[in-house]
Symmetry: C2
Subunit: 155 residues, 2 copies
């Protein structure tokens, strides 16, 4: 019998469940945050656009196969409608970065802190709030030094 | 007297006006696509998160100062609500990439084709459809080889 899906009352509750699932390395709990719609979109930093449950679940299974990800987003910027919520958050993740060695075919791996900007879109439907888009990309912006809304950063 | 803002009847019309403005190198027309809300978000590839009209307009003025950008997005993935529209599109842009030279302080610039994934979020308000978020990031995915919704790309 399939497990009953959890019903999230707010977009913030889905986002918390999403990061809880990353921390637990639990792909099922993570996929439970998403809308049942097949048009859902997931973009990992630098990666291709993934569409639909099958491709998205497979990508997270591969990522979490390296171990759970303990990250909590900061600096939320929220745009809220009655049936939609758009969140822009910043997070600092420890990523395994591959570096090519001096001998052909020899590469080394090292863990580095990477700043990632994430756009989350949540829709409200009959089954509560669900994630429909996760777009993550590496940024030069430091997690501790986000610009304020009123300060222009480029002139 | 301030110019009257155009009223876009569909999210697609705003998106077309946005790319028309890039092609014309017209920052005013480009900013006219955005919501009047100060919570709007813009992320250029690799760059910091920019919030509000002042910072966003300044960034586009700097980018378009190098000349207009002639790009049309492909492979749209659209999630549509009554008052929100989320578009994921792919585009191939010609970007000026800086490469460090062999002598300190000597860098060269070359133009390269870069594939960019863009998330656009549009809200419908009293002044028609308006852009509230533009999140662009470089992808390894080739513009001509997007995965189909049913094909998993990672195993």
């Amino acid at each position: 019998m399939p497990k009953l899906k959890s019903l999230h009352a707010t977009p913030e509750a889905v986002e918390t469940a999403f990061y809880d699932a990353l921390e637990a390395g639990d792909v099922d709990a993570l996929m439970d945050c998403w809308s049942g719609d097949e048009e859902i979109v997931c973009i990992h930093p630098g990666g291709p656009r993934l569409l639909g449950h099958h491709a998205i679940a497979a990508s997270w299974r591969e990522i979490l196969g390296n171990g759970p990800i303990n990250v909590r987003p900061t600096d939320p910027q929220v745009m809220q409608g009655s049936l939609v919520s758009v969140h822009s958050v910043l997070s600092r993740v420890m990523a395994l970065v591959k570096t090519e060695g001096t001998l052909p075919g020899r590469s080394t791996q090292q863990t580095m802190a990477v700043n990632v900007l994430v756009t989350h879109v949540f829709f409200k439907g009959a089954d509560g709030w669900r994630m429909v888009l996760h777009h993550a990309s590496v940024t030069t912006q430091d997690a501790d030094a986000m610009p304020s809304p009123t300060a222009g950063t480029l002139h």
